[in-house]
Symmetry: C2
Subunit: 327 residues, 2 copies
Amino acid sequence: MKFASEKSSSADGRLLLVAKDMSRAIAVPDIADTLQQALNNWAEAEPLLQARYAALNDGQLSDAQPLSSFNLDAPMPRSWQWLDGSCFLNHGHLMQKAFHLDPIEDADKYPLVYQGAGDNFSAPTDPLVMPNAEVGADFEGEFGVIIDKLPMGATAQQAYDAIRLVVLLNDISYRALAPREMKTGFGFVQAKGATAFAPVAVTPDELGDAWHNGRVQLPVHIERSGEWFGNPNGAEMHFGFQDVIAHVTQTRALNAGTVVGSGTVSNADPTVGQACIAEIRAKELIKHGAPQTPFLSDGETVVMQALDNAGNSVFGAISQTVTLEVQ
Amino acid sequence: MKFASEKSSSADGRLLLVAKDMSRAIAVPDIADTLQQALNNWAEAEPLLQARYAALNDGQLSDAQPLSSFNLDAPMPRSWQWLDGSCFLNHGHLMQKAFHLDPIEDADKYPLVYQGAGDNFSAPTDPLVMPNAEVGADFEGEFGVIIDKLPMGATAQQAYDAIRLVVLLNDISYRALAPREMKTGFGFVQAKGATAFAPVAVTPDELGDAWHNGRVQLPVHIERSGEWFGNPNGAEMHFGFQDVIAHVTQTRALNAGTVVGSGTVSNADPTVGQACIAEIRAKELIKHGAPQTPFLSDGETVVMQALDNAGNSVFGAISQTVTLEVQ
């Protein structure tokens, strides 16, 4: 199944069921008003949604409207818990090499995860807000999952079985602010902006073979201000999402609607480019002794989408324009 | 005004207005069902709540019930954003001295803050859950505030004016898990449990002189398994809550209902004891070369409350029994 959320007077938006070919969508208020509601009640909602999805795909729902006619929010406009991993080891290796950092101990054994703020996710076309020109604003193309509730101590298998939806997201980072916060050991607070999401969340079965062992084996195509920036593939994720989730549940239960991110998609093959500016700057620093590519500036655009083998946009596009916050 | 929340079928509980003398309480569904609702709509709700509070204190509300008759949740049972500071510099100094850590650079200039998980706060008498006996479970007695919404770039004065409620909380920490997470720079995830709250949240004016420059000048009395453990005073908080909030808003807007913590209350005077086990262990390590006081074990109790000059419990008591999670 495919889902989106329409912007509405509720901060949680209005749930839409989206046709498999992404052409049309329809609200399902008799089943759930919001994606959070559907997830809270998945065992009962899922068969009803499946039946409605079949009818939508068969063209039986005359009230369905073109997907493009809706003002779309993030599929999950806010979440009670947003946990973002850093599961592509190539990203860490590049950063360490460029900045002569000590390797993070056991980064291949324990997933790196930070607790993000999920209270206000950005819609796919919301501005990418830069608080000022000095923060070193950057994007990070990532895959993510939205899960059902899990008890403390859940196993990786339980975690895998609780993955309800797969999403594509842009984790906004303010690079100039990160080193000080990382050095304190307290993690990112000032250094992270509002995470943006592609409009459509899909159940894992929609991905077919591209969903493998809790990883999304698809390239994330990134354009910066109209130019190709990279198309790294999610297959190189060192930990599966189930491993990240099970790591976190060692000391906490998780609620339905918790969002878990992969960290910036990053591949060892340099010809596929990268999914964040920090990485190309690291490569430049290693090669030339200095970074050359600037961080984002006011008015630039960032477009991200994941394409399947047939060239279809699996989650729809994130398409943001960088905007300087006027204070 | 004073507020509490009754446990209900909603994860947000049911808002109660509590009499000044803490004797009685009453639901106010005609004004707001939950504390989050009241905060979302504070400008309109506040005068209505003030009028109801006056009537409650005057004994005019015959439907009011003894506060003790309600099954109380945390005053804010969950929050879209929970940001916890570490604003008592004495705590950091002790840790650094005991563990031969490098001082955190500029800790007196920039407030230390981590992004916590607010999706599932504990009620005042909920079990203090220990995932296993090896995590080094600890309590931290802290003050906190619950705020109204703030734009990105809010000043300390705007932040001060947005402080709606003051709370007392127990930030659960798993000390054995913290060093690895701090070393990664990604901050605490496995190392933090569900934060517990004293039952009553109070508007700053209720504190009288004890609310000074965004600090709570009251001692937090802590008992561990029936024995005095400490009564450090909130007055030594290096940053006011407005400074912590303004620090965070440099790169993000905050929603109504965001909860901000002070970090464990800690005083330079050793005779007042401490508000967490890690600190007494640090003192023992410095004095004797080894810590002597163990972390929490199954069945122990932790009681916290802040007393005013007249000996009244300002927020009511947190009273938790340590429980080993059965997995």
